[in-house]
Point group: C2
Chain length 468, copies 2
Amino acid sequence: MSSAFSVDPVLQEVDSRFEESVSRLCELLRIPSVSTDPAYAKDVRRAADWLVGELSALGFTASVRETGTQPAVVAHHPGPGGDDVPHVLYYGHFDVQPAEPLELWNSPPFEPAIVEAEHGRRIVARGAVDDKGQVMTFLEAFRAWHAVHGTLPIRVTVLLEGEEETGSPSLLSFLKANADELKADVCVITDTNSWNIDTPAITTRLRGLLYAEVTLHGPSHDLHSGLFGGAVLNPINALTRILGQLHDDQGRVQIPGFYDDVAEATAEEKAMWETLGFDEAAFLAGVGLKTPTGEAGRSAPERLWVRPTCDINGIWGGYTGAGAKTVIAAKASAKLSCRLVPAQDPQKVLAGLKAFLDAHTPPDARWEIQTFGASPGIQVPTDSPYLRAALDGLGEVYTNKPVLIGMGGSIPVGGYIREALGFDSIFVGFGLEDDRIHSPNEKFELKCLHNGIRSHAAILARFAALKG
Amino acid sequence: MSSAFSVDPVLQEVDSRFEESVSRLCELLRIPSVSTDPAYAKDVRRAADWLVGELSALGFTASVRETGTQPAVVAHHPGPGGDDVPHVLYYGHFDVQPAEPLELWNSPPFEPAIVEAEHGRRIVARGAVDDKGQVMTFLEAFRAWHAVHGTLPIRVTVLLEGEEETGSPSLLSFLKANADELKADVCVITDTNSWNIDTPAITTRLRGLLYAEVTLHGPSHDLHSGLFGGAVLNPINALTRILGQLHDDQGRVQIPGFYDDVAEATAEEKAMWETLGFDEAAFLAGVGLKTPTGEAGRSAPERLWVRPTCDINGIWGGYTGAGAKTVIAAKASAKLSCRLVPAQDPQKVLAGLKAFLDAHTPPDARWEIQTFGASPGIQVPTDSPYLRAALDGLGEVYTNKPVLIGMGGSIPVGGYIREALGFDSIFVGFGLEDDRIHSPNEKFELKCLHNGIRSHAAILARFAALKG
């Protein structure tokens, strides 16, 4: 690349304009773009419009795109021109989880608050880190490049999703329908964590997700527990009895065939994780716990990154108001999700879950089952030049050496992009484990935001050096 | 008794004025006296005022009485005079359960609808049978006696409660505080069922109730199921695991000591129940089921009347809205209740329940437990002259012979009256098993209302014959 594209002035621009970056993130956070609740549909669209405006100002051709469900944003920047310029697809999402329970927030979830804490200032709001703050790390890096050099050093396509928190129902079909337009050399996905505030990370393993809502139907209507209790099926009792058997006393999931395709981590992976010195006591203390739990005989990184799970995410049935109502409910429901590891087929796990439920169904009862998302786990190659370039870019910004880690969460888009577009993804993000994503008082450290912008700025230069 | 108190003209009066009785019941049903919801406090009081008006018109000295919670109605009628006149306390309640879920009602719950069905006309409304319709059976019997003879044939005290559906929090203290005023020879409680529409019944066994709300607390806040799943305590999974063990595979409750004080029904009781020909298939079909369930090796009348239970009445935790939220909740809750049989001590059962929960508590978790009502089961003597007189009165009205039965529900007032006032109760009521009490479309057959009024009119005459 020519020296006209030197990165140092870009990093200086990032630093000198950082307060403006924070203000812009606050603007985006004030839009309550909750995708799971139809009441906020207008706000999801408003967030998309806002992003189109920002991208357009940076030399992108940007537009809001219909997907059939929530809108997406697609934007293209030609870069400096030339056939041999790398082309990178950047992915993030601008929808957020519901903010409930509201009473547990220290400040309103959609009025971002800047709070001083141990690592300096942090921004507290729903979406602060997941994923609006992360999206702003590459948007603000683009802005600095645009300001300093009048262009980006590579060709860039941006895809911002508006329904990640609902399980991305239309993402795969959108990618397939727009495959030519979205084609690039590699995808950069910014929705993951650093290893710690001083140690950047690229995530090479992510778990997939199968999410289901199950309802057990029993009597034709709610009954009086005195007149019927002891002689009729109680669906809530039955549901607890059935779901209470999801794990054995070694913490192993009892869905038939659940572990059939689960591969052990490699010796190399285990060795690398060993060196990370995962502090399980601190991990647990951060959430008010102290006793290791889960699958017996496995290290914490294994349980979190390469072992599948089955968690009940919600349960409800019968009378849940104040005081007493002596009712036997006609039905009982639960939401449950399995985190999956690579090679586990979500559809096979779903079939196993149905078989598990069927095998335990009491006489006269029936199941109603809905699924919300089914995506496999992801394992990305660690030897690609783009991944090496990203590691180098991170190494330029942080003192600590970047590490390769796994992650327990699910980012289906990586698998979808592989399937629909045919190239790999690099998961590089700047969140911290204690950022309380999906919880009240979600936050993003401004130090992470700042280093994230600097990192993306530096990585862009490293990408530009790959060809040409 | 003098022939001036002949019962035949009273029964004729009941028959000829029956449509007016129906209208008056409709008037009472239009008052939404839901005691569990503070929003209806004014309506509970309005129902009390309405009853005071009705009783006053029948020669009673009646008043609304404060209990500290919901008001009660107390009324006195001197009867025909003389020291040797029997004195009977009549009990009923004028509060009702919440009508929710409203969308399942075929007509508005507080606009009584007269509907034709297999047994002729029925009245559909919240409280139609529980307990406003039942209260009107004795009120209208008093009215007919008053109209024909200008008095009642015995001395009568009436106690109408306004908080039965909230577990009668202040009833025992109210009875104790007013023991002298409420003293009588026997109490007649009209809040139970006939055996079937053509066979009247006196209920001699009722189950008690222990109602508890339990919450299992785990992590300090809600967590992301991807980032934490597999390595932290999930309180919903734990709650299902624990409550799923409340019964063994023979349907026996696993609370420690639960059956210690449970007596078997006598051979005589079992023989009487055998003759009733309880149709379990029909009982189950009425609620959309077909497979007998509950404690193995017990007949349906045993399981319903003389065996204790443990039902979960409500359960909740985590995300229960539409779609997916990948959360591990910080806590999970359930409401559960045990129907108790005589000699089971509710406090001992509560201690057992706590011991059961404690024994299953996962590391780092803690329970929060609240109770809403704890009342023992009731067994009334079957050889008292008042009970025999009541049986004779029923025999006069119905072709089928009256039977002595048990009931699975709880009517704590019988035990409270024994404790506070020192006399027994006779449970005689006119509901049917399919009346859908506490459910949408609660109803009372007009044939039951009519026979109930006639029965109370006849029983009054039989009581009058006991002394004098």
